[in-house]
């Protein structure tokens, strides 16, 4: 049963809205963009066939307003809604409301979003279907024996609030003698941050690597994978460099981890695009969670497979089934994504704001830039500070890293501080080139985020450039009485 999508509403903004509109237009699908007034004039708003203005006390509130977005789809005759990532993309109530309104939700079913959104249920589901999970003790399951069970897992342990997120209240316990004390403190932090002191303890993987697998399902038990991505370069629990293939996996391990992801999605009768995330370390991998949407870092998969993942999402959503079988998936070369953020790496990666006086991304072979910003726009604190994704591809990893460093050097952004130089330093670091970056690496190496001291020849070049660029400095030099110039001339 197939319902070709004629008009697609994009319930998102920025680069992912641009990304979705581009594919829709290539497929001849009409586009409606919901847009808060702060985003009028954005590249996405200029590309969409139609715009519906969203009211909202804040920009973020507008893009979270399910009722307004569904009403916009009905008013414009859109027959499907693509939620992008973030905002309402993993909101089961929204997915349900979209379907109830007779529209196509481009994503999995609401029940699937519910299942995978509940960390404890998702973990139990994975375990039940033979997907490895980290050895753990869950307080809810057995409050009386919780601490004894946790201790029996053996150090190192990770103590987490059950209701937690974003790393708050998380503690690593390496010395079991301190377990009671750490549990007491984690409980009090959990109660303070989340109003819920229940805990969850699992074996901590030292120097963990974040590996995830892109899967697609048709909702009838047919599932294929498009390989893995490694996203271990993280700051403040947020990915900043992602790549495929992972430099750490052997072919045998890659096969196992991709198969585990497919098994999980197949057991769930998963529909549309999903990503199964794993923690990997010391030859072991454990299920972390499943993201029921398109990921920010999907372009690296597109670059090595030559496929358009948004097109796949739309085809599956319209009931056309999986476009290819597993045996038809080929990957070629290496791709790396580097996320350009408006932030100050030397000041703890704090977000920065400012006008994009010049915004000039690099171009060339093996270089792709996905962005929702254009020159002249202003970076504000209203939305996420990601300015662009630079995606490079090359026949092998070392060539891709070279290309990334070169492209970063050519990325010109004037008016707002960014992490471009930091990404260059990280990509160029011996650890990254050796494929040894783990999720704690950036926090353990704050020196990478320090700006190089400006002195010597470099300082003279920069001061020379600034002096020549500033009209008053050059005019003053040009106004200097002729005598000095003549004296200079006489000496020749």
């Amino acid at each position: 049963m197939s319902h070709a999508i004629r008009t697609l509403l994009i319930a998102n903004r920025g680069e992912i809205a641009v990304r979705i509109i581009r594919t829709a237009q290539r497929l001849g699908i009409g586009t409606v963009l919901v847009c808060h007034e702060l985003d009028l004039g954005s590249p996405a708003s200029a590309m969409a066939d139609e715009i519906v203005l969203l009211e909202g006390r804040t920009g973020v509130a507008a893009y979270l307003d399910a009722a307004q977005i569904i009403a916009a789809a009905q008013k414009t005759g859109a027959d499907a809604i693509h939620p992008g990532y973030g905002f309402l993309s993993e909101n089961a109530a929204f997915a349900r409301a979209v379907t109830d309104a007779g529209l196509i939700f481009v994503g999995p079913t609401a029940d699937m979003i519910d299942l995978m959104g509940d960390k404890v249920r998702a973990r139990a589901f994975a375990e039940k279907h033979g997907v490895p999970v980290a050895p753990s003790a869950i307080e809810d399951d057995d409050p009386v024996n919780f601490v004894a069970k946790a201790r029996a897992l053996g150090a190192p342990l990770l103590v987490k609030p059950s209701a937690g997120g974003g790393g708050k209240g998380m503690r690593i316990v390496r010395d079991l003698a301190k377990l009671d004390e750490e549990i007491t403190q984690a409980r009090s932090e959990g109660a303070r941050y989340f109003g819920d002191g229940r805990l969850y303890v699992e074996r901590f993987v030292e120097e963990p690597r974040h590996i995830e697998v892109q899967v697609f399902g048709d909702g009838k038990g047919n599932v294929i994978h498009l390989g893995e991505r490694e996203c271990s370069a993280q700051r403040r629990f947020q990915k900043i460099i992602e790549e495929t293939p992972s430099p750490i996996l052997t072919p045998a391990l890659r096969e196992r981890i991709c198969q585990a992801a497919v098994d999980l999605a197949r057991a769930a009768h998963y529909a549309n695009a999903g990503t199964v995330e794993f923690i990997y370390g010391r030859d072991q991998f454990y299920f972390l969670e499943m993201n029921t949407r398109l990921q920010v870092e999907h372009p690296v998969t597109e670059e090595v497979t030559g496929l358009d993942l948004v097109e796949w999402q739309l085809r599956i959503a319209s009931g056309a089934g999986l476009p290819l079988q597993q045996s038809e998936i080929r990957t070629d070369g290496h791709a790396i994504e580097l996320r350009i953020y408006a932030e100050s790496p030397s000041r703890g990666f704090l977000p920065t704001t400012g006008p994009l006086l010049v915004f000039d991304p690099p171009e060339g072979e093996g270089i792709r830039v996905d962005t929702g910003f254009g020159q002249g726009q202003r970076v504000t604190s209203a939305f996420d500070p990601m300015l662009a994704k630079l995606i490079v591809s090359a026949p092998n990893r070392s060539a891709a890293i070279e290309r990334a460093c070169e492209a970063l050097r050519e990325f010109v952004i004037l008016g707002c501080e960014t992490n471009v130089e930091f990404l260059g330093a990280l990509a160029h670091s011996a650890a990254f080139r050796a494929g040894e970056v783990h999720t704690g690496f950036i926090d353990a190496h704050p020196e990478l985020a320090q700006l190089p001291v400006l002195d010597g020849e470099v300082l003279m070049r920069v001061l020379g450039a600034a002096s020549m660029a500033l009209p008053s400095l050059r005019e003053e030099a040009e106004e200097i009485p002729a005598m000095h110039a003549m004296m200079g001339g006489w000496r020749n």
Binding site: V358, G424, R461, L463, S467, A469, A477, I480, A485
Partner: protein, 165 residues
Amino acid sequence: MRHGLENNGVIQDVFLSPVPGGFCLHANGREALIVLEGETQGYLALAIDGEDCEVRYAIAGAEIFLHLDGRHFHFKHHEPVRRFASTETGETNAAARAPMPGTVVRIAAQAGAAVAAGDAILVIESMKLETTIRAWRDGIVEAVHVTEGATFERGMLLVSLVEDA
């Protein structure tokens, strides 16, 4: 006149002087020869001490943003007069102090004169260069603390302004 370029809390003294075929940058106790090879809006092609240097730049008020040699840089530009304006009386920018030793060439506005920002107040000669000290805001010249032909040391009070009542 020495301008200030501030980066990361450090202010560098800079000025340009003309030399045949280009400019001489005086900064950080050193000199560098700059040849302008081409320019368009927001773009400079320079040779600095013989090394090519392609520069992208943007200016917003006193902020200057630059990209060269594959890196971004950012400075705050301190104009000479504003830079040496004193705050010792408690009033911001109440007075201008000498940025370097020199001689008073001419006094253009006497005590009591109403001036608008940018009006010439006095002309000084320092390091063989004549520079006009201009009103850094609207106001009344409270006093000119030097006389024509007088010499002064760095930091000496040159002129003070009061706000127009």
